[in-house]
Symmetry: C2
DNA sequence: CTATATCTTGGAGCCGACTCCAAGTCAAGA
DNA sequence: TCTTGACTTGGAGTCGGCTCCAAGATATAG
């Protein structure tokens, strides 16, 4: 039998950069599945668990709220997302919003660059919220809590995904 | 008499996508300078103020904490950062971290794309465990090597979404 | 047997970033 | 005059995401 390597929570924390407390917290709120326990009750982690935690860490870096991560973790847990068409939609939506986020970040970089290189004139990074009359509330999405474009989605900008790589 | 247009807080909120309450909050914590008041005490905003708020909105989208925005706002307030060499350093640092963030986001996009297009394999989306003493790492953890099947390669320990073990 | 270390649990506390509220001011309209 | 509406203020409350206990179990070393 393949002996899979296992890790203590401490080792896991070290490998993932997420604190032990936080890992337990994620388990508590069921963002992570309940970890297996040894006879003494200690948690055991293996590669796949660590990868899940790393995925969380990665999404966290992008500013995504924990609640929104659930679908990602579900997808990562079981292989084929195609079986969950709703999930596919979710993923697409997230992809969109991440692309937008990248654009925002790029604008900040531009802003900085401009400032750094003598910048005098600045064309701020908010070209998306022109005086278009936006109703403050993006309608509450029906079924899934996820959607939450990082606010102020540009009105009517289809913005097809960047060419698949 | 110039045509400098001024705005109420409500209009400003609308234009920037930031709520009135939040704008007042930003002023309260001095992230924004105290706005001018009319005789009746009402706040007045003009273009430059709106731009500052939009800058905040933009930085917010990138996940930056309010406290970290202060230098940016200082810079935007008075044009030339070169006079504040310390600020220049700050800006450079932030630029760095934003670039990293973009990379993280791109990885998430890749992750999603992989999942969406039938994904089979993935490479890890994060591997910057800050100055880590990578103690016992069984493998060299190559950044760009494609291993780590994230799923479907669970020999003996299948995780199903519906059955926690 | 005792001390030390590593874990467990439940729960309290903290911080950032809002969000909401009550009470009050002022201007114009019916 | 009374009412409405847009604003003001200070402060309280909320929520997400940790972070920090205290009390207790178990494992190994001396």
């Amino acid at each position: 039998m393949r002996d899979e390597q296992t890790f203590t929570i401490k080792q896991t924390a070290r490998q993932t950069g997420i604190s032990e407390d936080t890992i337990r917290y994620y388990e508590k709120i069921a963002l992570l599945p309940r970890a297996e326990r040894k006879d003494n009750g200690h948690r055991v982690y293996r590669e796949e668990d660590i990868e899940a935690i790393q995925l969380i860490a990665c999404l966290k870096k992008t500013g995504m709220p924990l609640e929104e991560m659930r679908p990602f973790l579900t997808v990562s847990a079981d292989a084929d997302p195609a079986e969950y068409p709703e999930l596919v939609e979710l993923l697409r939506g997230h992809r969109e919003s991440i692309i937008n986020q990248i654009a925002s970040l790029q604008q900040v970089v531009d802003f900085i660059d401009m400032k750094l290189e003598k910048g005098k004139y600045r064309r701020d990074c908010a070209d998306d919220i022109q005086d278009g009359v936006r109703t403050e509330e993006p309608k509450p999405k029906a079924v899934s809590s996820v959607q939450m474009s990082y606010f102020s989605a540009s009105p009517g900008t289809p913005k097809s995904p960047t060419s698949p790589r």
